[in-house]
């Protein structure tokens, strides 16, 4: 590979003016030599220490290239973008190559006996996977640091005992969607600065996503209006205005605004998509709590029979076109959406893509009439619910496996919390002991033996393997 020389300015930080000099890039390292020979800022850095490179956009004020290492970065300012781009591409190539070959170099350095293929090349994908595993599991990371970084184990030796973690299947199984947060993000509160009459609402992609999920009418309006009729900013301004009107409980002002501006009215009106959805859902609820079925279930419904005002019942307010959305409705809706969870995985960045993805996921089979399967399931559940459990033997319920990202950390913190709470109430932590009496343990033993007889001794581990496994586990 060739080397390149380019005139550039080295800037210690963005605020300081650069020191003019020449940047020389070779395959292994780059060298910066200032024009001023007295300057002490001479750089000679191997590319291996560089992690990432960053650069300013073409056409921005300065043509910058930033080479990041552990502690910071080297910022170079070029005279022209074309110069910068040549350097950028060069650095990109070298870094890509380095990252791909880095572990294999280690492999070569310490010849591995267990894997005979000496030139094992790790694809960047595999590498990424390993890094992800390390990042997710603090315990594993600690071990990695302890053994690999200090050179006790090589990278491949370290992973050899954890082959199962590297299996692709495990990645898929353990993939668990993160749900919504329980907090009501869509209930945005305005901030006032106290001096002027200005009110500020702040929206994040997360909040917008929740608004779309909880208020289908807003979602539809967004898809219809943005960007054909108005910009996204206008849309949200309008939305916040409607929210503000709703919050101030000024129904007269709200009605007046809604009459003038039909787009604003969408936000204040009753959500018709929601009403539709409710009508579908009510047919599927568990019959043992279906109170709707119960309404007016007398023989023929007479409106004026019975007592109307005996104080027990409460009168219902008349409904208006701009029906008041109550807090309780919002809470119920929010909780329902949280329970449904995210239907798709989209990076929460662009509002438009989020809105479209949500629309796609809704079009799916979710609104299909519920099939026999579901009613069967419900029937079984109802049966289970009616049984008095302690008068009958235990059931094996199906369950969804919970994926805890970092079990050790999770349980340790739980225990710490519990201990702290117990410490407050001045009580000790008592272990539950499982005492089997003689009969029970005998029965258990007999069961084990008979099981072994039936299934044979297939899964008994050979002694030498067991020895190894033992070793590795004790190492871990």
């Amino acid at each position: 590979m060739h080397t390149i020389n380019k005139p550039t300015k080295y800037r210690i930080s963005l605020k300081e003016p650069g020191i003019p000099g020449v940047l020389r890039m070779a395959e292994e390292r780059f060298i910066f030599t200032p024009h001023d020979p007295r300057s002490l800022l001479k750089l000679d850095v191997p590319f291996r220490s560089i992690k990432v490179h960053k650069f300013s956009k073409d056409g921005s004020k300065q043509a910058l290239l930033n080479l990041l290492h552990e502690g910071g970065g080297y910022i170079f300012e070029f005279d022209s973008f074309s110069d910068r781009n040549i350097c950028r591409d060069f650095v990109g190539k070298i870094l890509g190559k380095l990252q791909a070959t880095c572990p294999s170099k280690d492999d070569k350095a310490v010849p591995d006996k267990t894997t005979p293929a000496p030139g094992e090349q790790l694809s960047p994908m595999e590498m990424e996977h390993r890094i992800k595993l390390l990042r997710d599991d603090s315990e594993l990371q600690r071990l990695h640091k302890q053994f690999v970084m200090t050179g006790i184990l090589t990278e491949s030796e370290f992973w050899a005992t954890r082959k199962n973690l590297l299996d692709d299947t495990t990645i898929k199984v353990s993939k668990q969607r993160t749900g919504f947060k329980s907090t009501m993000l869509a209930d945005i509160r305005p901030a006032t600065d106290g001096r002027t009459n200005k009110v500020t609402f702040s929206l994040t992609p997360e909040i917008i996503h929740q608004i779309f999920a909880e208020k289908p009418a807003v979602h539809r309006a967004f898809l219809d209006l943005v960007p054909k009729k108005m910009s996204e900013k206008d849309f949200w301004t309008k939305y916040c205005r409607a929210e503000y009107l709703h919050r101030t409980n000024n129904s007269v002002a709200a009605a007046a605004e809604a009459a003038e501006d039909e787009e604003l009215a969408v936000f204040l009106k009753h959500d018709d998509i929601l009403a539709d959805e409710i009508r579908h859902k009510i047919r599927r609820v568990d019959p043992t709590l279906d109170m709707e079925a119960d309404q007016a279930d007398d023989y023929i419904h007479l409106q004026d029979h019975g007592l109307l005002r005996d104080g027990g019942k409460e009168t219902v307010d008349a409904e208006s076109e701009l029906s008041r959305r109550t807090l309780s409705q919002d809470l119920n809706r929010h909780a329902a959406v949280v329970l449904e969870g995210r239907a798709f995985d989209v990076e929460l960045g662009d509002t438009r893509t989020v809105a479209e993805a949500l629309a796609r996921s809704k079009k799916g089979p979710s609104l299909e009439a519920f099939d026999k399967n579901e009613s069967q399931e419900r029937l079984e559940k109802a049966c289970r619910m009616t049984e008095i459990e302690d008068l009958r033997g235990p059931h094996q319920l199906p369950y969804a496996p919970l994926f805890i990202k970092d079990p050790r950390e999770y349980f340790d913190s739980q225990q710490a919390n519990a201990l702290r709470a117990l410490g407050d109430s001045n009580a000790g932590f008592k272990n539950t002991d499982y005492n089997f009496n003689l009969e029970e343990s005998y029965a258990y033993l007999m069961k084990q033996i008979s099981e072994a007889k039936v299934s044979g001794l297939n899964d008994i581990v050979q002694s030498d393997v067991a020895h190894k496994e033992n070793l590795t586990t004790s190492l871990v």
Binding site: D286, M291, G311
Partner: protein, 737 residues
């Protein structure tokens, strides 16, 4: 397991039985032997329903010579579903030779499978669109015309063809869903099928109204034989249901509608006079001879029976001055006019029926006897005029219903006219209410007609009050207590918040921000400590709305949501149902949730929060009735005069039975466990006595006065005990057979 109680072999679908279930069955059997009524109280969480069903079914199987029918009344449709689910468990355990037909009956709304009818949204329109397709005159017309000219219901037609050959349902247990599925399968109408099958079924499960409301009972339950065991489950509110059945309200809309109805009737009479005068004369002659003959309407045409009780309808001729159709019409016009005048009041008026009848007589010239016959006379007229769209004539029916009741009963009722709702004095909405105070009137025919009536609930104390309120003599009246081998219930009374200020929902304290904050802090602490589901009961909708809004402003609600999802009961039943469904799912999936509910609301009435659906229930305040209600005041006066029950005592009794009902929702079996917090200073010390004496009948030997931190630590120690509990040991009485 199968065991014997005296000579009866009892099939019980579980391997074990609680001792109190066994005792309960023994008492029940004695009542059945004695062919008398009985009153049994057993706390929730002891499996009342299955014990009851198991014994009565086994008793019927043991005595095949005298077929015993079980009529099981529930308050709500979802309770009906639960009962049928338990019956199914029992049915699968019975010996295969025994044939048993059990079914639930509900309105068209819940049973119809015709997609055209179902597309109508409200229940009233489902009823009337069904009638439009199935009424006898429509079908007669459709038979005359070429097919397809007049739409009919294909499900009803094919059912009608099939129903001519006797019994249609094979034996088994049919929930509403099963009936619908069966109907879809055979292309038969499930509603009319169920209506028809109840006379052949061994067990019928339906709503209280079908037996207690005389208007409905005489149609639906007419054919039930005397050898019936009638069970009223969850009957602690039965007095209220009875009272509702005999009460009528008249508003301005009713009277306007009645005037329209009368004009329509007048037109039809004129038409008949021109074309078929003989028919009217014929009716007149019939009326001279005696009371209107109740013609047998086809099942599809609806006309409610007389609102007063059959015994009260005298076997005498209709008074002369309303025999002619046009005379009767004039009487009704005067009555409506008079009622319109009465509605124009400035202040509240309360009257007894005697005074009211006297005033009608003086001002409108209608005497008591004419009033009494209004309902039947109207029915006869409608029949003569061949008006069968009865649902359009509901307004005039209501007015006649009112007239008949006011003309029949002289005591136990009062008439209350209010110009507006007291809680919204700025909206004029005059209403005239005929309010019944005597619960025994409506239930009397049930006691007279059927061999055994069983009234049972988790909360019937004081048990001697019910025979007086309902005016009957039970052969057995017993209250069982729950045997517990461990503290699976932990009731507590909270009188002060964490800042040592007293908490209460007393009228002068409830809006105090300190109380609101203390309640919020209590909930917040509990939400952080208790796993799975938590249920909170508030005293009223308006109070709950207020407090939830304040919590929202204070930020407490947001803190609560950090720990659990929040669901709220609203006035909208559909929304509440969905919220409940979601609440259960939240508890099932382990996320945990809080449900806010109303002490006298629909949720408190019949939804169970057992197992992980309710590990803690908090009762915020004492759920007293709205004591300024005129109807309540009138009723209290009646109770004082007739039964010497003091107003204060009754109110406390009523509030505590509601509170007990609410907290009792969390426990359904002994493997279950839960905490209960009564958060009001008034629960201590006076009410603790009530609570221990007759409220939950749970072992509240250790009602503890607590503040928040101690409650938390109690919770922790309790859950530790519970986790170490082994359900197969100790608490069960096992029969080795």
């Amino acid at each position: 397991m199968k065991f014997h109680i005296e000579e009866v072999a009892v099939y019980f679908p579980y391997d074990h039985i609680y001792p109190e279930q066994y005792e309960y069955m023994v008492e029940l059997k004695r009542a059945l032997d004695a062919r008398g009524h009985c009153l049994l109280e057993m706390p929730t969480g002891t499996g009342k329903t299955i014990a009851l069903l198991s014994l009565i079914t086994s008793y019927a199987l043991a005595h095949p010579s005298s077929p015993l029918k079980l009529v099981y009344c529930t308050r709500t449709v979802h309770e009906m579903e639960k009962t049928l689910a338990e019956l199914r468990v029992l049915y699968s355990y019975l010996p295969p030779s025994s044939s048993l037909l059990a079914l639930g009956l509900s309105s068209r709304k819940n049973l119809c499978i015709n997609p055209d009818v179902l597309s109508a949204s409200s229940r009233d329109s489902i009823d009337s669109s069904c009638r439009r397709l199935t009424a006898s005159w429509v079908r007669a017309l459709a038979a005359d015309r070429p097919s397809g000219a007049i739409p009919t219901c294909p499900f009803f037609e094919s059912y009608d063809k099939a129903s001519r050959d006797a019994i249609l349902l094979p034996s088994g247990v049919y929930t509403l869903e099963d009936l619908r599925a069966f109907g879809r399968d055979r292309k038969w109408c499930p509603y009319f099928l169920a209506r028809n099958m109840i006379q052949y079924a061994n067990i019928v499960v339906y709503s209280y109204q079908y037996l207690l409301d005389p208007k409905v009972a005489n149609i639906i339950s007419k054919e039930m034989q005397r050898e019936c065991v009638v069970v009223f489950d969850e009957a602690h509110n039965i007095d209220n249901v009875c009272i509702e059945a005999l009460s009528v309200s008249i508003r301005r809309q009713t009277l306007d509608g009645a005037t329209r109805n009368l004009n329509r009737i007048a037109q039809v009479i004129d038409k008949f006079k021109a074309t078929d005068a003989g028919r009217l004369r014929e009716e007149y002659n019939r009326l001279v001879e005696g009371l209107a003959q109740r013609g047998n309407l086809p099942m599809t045409d609806t006309w409610l029976a007389n609102p007063a009780l059959p015994d009260d309808i005298l076997k005498e001729a209709v008074p002369g001055n309303i025999r002619r159709a046009e005379h009767f019409l004039a009487v009704l016009r005067r009555l409506v006019q008079y009622l319109k005048g009465r509605l124009q009041v400035e202040s509240v008026e309360t009257e007894v029926p005697v005074a009211f009848v006297a005033s009608i007589n003086a001002q409108a010239g209608i005497d008591q006897k004419m009033l009494k016959f209004c309902y039947d006379r109207l029915y006869s007229l409608m029949l003569t005029l061949e008006i069968t769209e009865t649902d359009e004539f509901l307004h005039i029916q209501t007015v006649c219903d009112f007239a008949t009741l006011v003309g029949t009963y002289t005591r136990g009722f009062s008439i209350i006219i209010e110009p507006f709702d007291e809680r919204m004095p700025h909206i004029p909405d005059p209403i005239l209410q005929l309010s019944c105070h005597d619960a025994s009137l409506a239930i009397k025919p049930v006691f007279d007609r059927f061999q055994s009536v069983i009234i049972t609930s988790g909360t019937l104390s004081p048990i001697d009050l019910y025979p007086r309120l309902l005016n009957f003599n039970p052969v057995i009246s017993r209250s069982f207590t729950m045997s517990l081998t461990r503290d699976c219930i932990c009731p507590m009374v909270l009188t002060r918040g964490s800042d040592q200020l007293p908490v209460s929902t007393k009228f002068d304290m409830r809006s105090d921000p300190g109380v609101v904050r203390n309640y919020g802090r209590l909930l917040l602490e509990m939400v952080a400590a208790v796993p799975d589901g938590i249920v909170c009961f508030f005293v009223s909708y308006s109070y709950m709305d207020g407090i939830v809004n304040s919590w929202n402003e204070m930020g407490i609600l947001q803190d609560i949501m950090q720990h659990k999802l929040v669901f709220i009961e609203t006035q909208d039943v559909v929304e509440t149902t969905l919220a409940l469904d979601n609440y259960r799912r939240a508890c099932d999936c382990g996320r945990g949730a809080v449900f806010f509910s109303i002490a006298r609301g629909k949720v408190a009435e019949g939804i169970d929060f057992d197992k992980h659906y309710g590990r803690l229930v908090i009762m915020f305040g004492v759920p007293f009735q709205y004591t300024l209600s005129r109807i309540l005041i009138a009723r209290l006066e009646y109770l004082r005069d007739t039964f010497q029950i003091k107003e204060g005592d009754f109110l406390t009794f009523d509030a505590l039975r509601q509170a007990a009902q609410c907290v009792g929702r969390v426990i359904r079996s002994k493997a279950d466990y839960g905490m209960m917090i009564f958060a009001d200073k008034r629960y201590y010390p006076v009410c603790t006595i009530f609570l221990t004496k007759f409220c939950i009948v749970l072992p509240i030997s250790n009602i503890l006065m607590k503040n928040v931190p101690t409650i938390i630590s109690t919770h922790q120690s309790m859950s530790k005990d519970i986790i170490n509990f082994d359900p197969s040991m100790g608490c069960l009485l096992s029969f080795m057979l």
